[in-house]
Amino acid sequence: METPETLAASIPDGALLALPPDNSLAPCELARALVRRGARGLRLLGVPVSGFATDLLIGAGCVASVQTSAVTLGEAGTAPRFADAVRRGAIAVIDATCPAIHTMLQAAEKGVPFMPLRGVLGSDVLAHRADWKVIDNPFAQGGADGGDPILLLPALSPDVAAFHAVCADADGNVWVGRRRELATLAHAARRAVVTVERMVAGSLLDDERMAAGTISGTYIDAVAVAARGAWPLGLLDEYAADAAHISDYAKAARTDAGFACYLERHVLPSRSQAAE
């Protein structure tokens, strides 16, 4: 029987761990379990941007680098532990731009070494990416000398993808509703670990109405139940984000002491739980 703690134990220190943004099934309980297990050196990938779980993991010292297109707490503003870590040079930031992250994952899901993407030329994001290349479009009129430069992005396979879905069945199929971009993430990752609100009877893929929002168990390595596992973020139409909590976090996490208090209160095991 998997739990958020066993999933966290299966994510090794130093892993390239891909996480969805705050409005798309972010696995917050799993992030708390990673803090509790004392994970170190994680290389986070925001797909395509990063939010609460990333800030929490950075603050708790779990993170070596973040590849992302933005880190934000949305209406609550700046991600304070991320901003502080950048200021101190405590983490490496590998800046990308949203469609580039989607495209690198799409290349991995197709099993091809790279894919092209329009735009981005002249951005300093490109200037700081030694792993991104620009070629002249070989299909342009006039061939490769046609003077149509285009960006090529390498395939990117995260070691682990993690998200919090609504439900799963005994075959390991998980239901993500309309957030089907998570299927690309699961397809591209070497492993996918998923927490869910609940298990359901039968097969999600036998139900025509559920199948389109389902990611096949083919791509899912482990599932654990974590009720309200996206909290304090929201989950589709299951529950709304806890805006007051996120706002309180954003204030508390401005200082080291405030963040430490937050961890004690909301993340680390209480003494009574630890004694169980």
């Binding site: 409005n23 798309s24 395509p48 941007v49 992302t68 297109s69 933005a70 880190v71 934000t72 949305g74 209406e75 700046t78 991600a79 991320f82 901003a83 950048v86 200021r87 040079g89 930031v93 800046d95 990308a96 731009t97 949203c98 469609p99 580039a100 989607h102 799409q106 993407l117 329009r118 735009g119 981005v120 030329l121 002249g122 951005s123 300093d124 994001v125 490109l126 700081h128 003077g147 149509d148 430069p149 285009i150 309309r178 957030r179 089907r180 971009e181 998570l182 690309t184 929201g234 139409d237 709304a240």
Partner: protein, 243 residues
Amino acid sequence: MIASHEERLIGAVARLILDPAAPPARHIAVGAASPIPAAACWLVRKLGHKVRLSLLHRPRGNPFTEGSRELFDLAGQGRIDLFFLGGGQIDGQANLNLIGTGDWPGRDARFPGSFGSAFMYFMTPRTILFREEHSPRVLVERVDIVSAPGISPPGVFRRGTAQALVTGRCVFGFDGAGFSLVSLHPGETAAGVRDNTGFDYAGDDAPITPDPTPGELAVLRGPVCDEMRETYPDFCRRVWNAP
């Protein structure tokens, strides 16, 4: 009816959307944390103009079933006519900086990051820039870091660039090379705008930004507010006293 500051900005953005000299806006997308651009789009729609709106962060009725990946694919194909961007810094060549100030990657002050700007700015026939803070620290001669360039050399595939920049003080037009003053919001002076702008631009003699008409204000305070409340409850409370 007296227009509030926010309603004036919404009206100014709506007029830019409807500018007959600009490429047509049949499908407009609006990103996160953009209540004024979103309200301007709703105003255009509620005034009866046929326009498809894709509001990325609408919790219900979100048009995408593959998240933001679908937005970027749509834009890549040329199916989005207009997008909105801002920046922690914006310079006189309409370069945008959403990454930070100081040394890479923003060691002085880190902004959230580029989001999709480095792609979207190239892919839509036009972009309306919106940044309410109009100060020399935001409107700079040259951005510290270019998230998305305003101008590309010949040969680089690009469908468009900035149409205009709307700030809390004025409207600037962009002609593909530089900005020019289009209108001053009520209470602003040409000298005051010049003092608060770090980049050079053409023109000081500009009319006052017109207020929304009483009919437009009624639409804003009624049906537009109703559409906005779920996504932007704080904004609607502040601007329209919505419950």
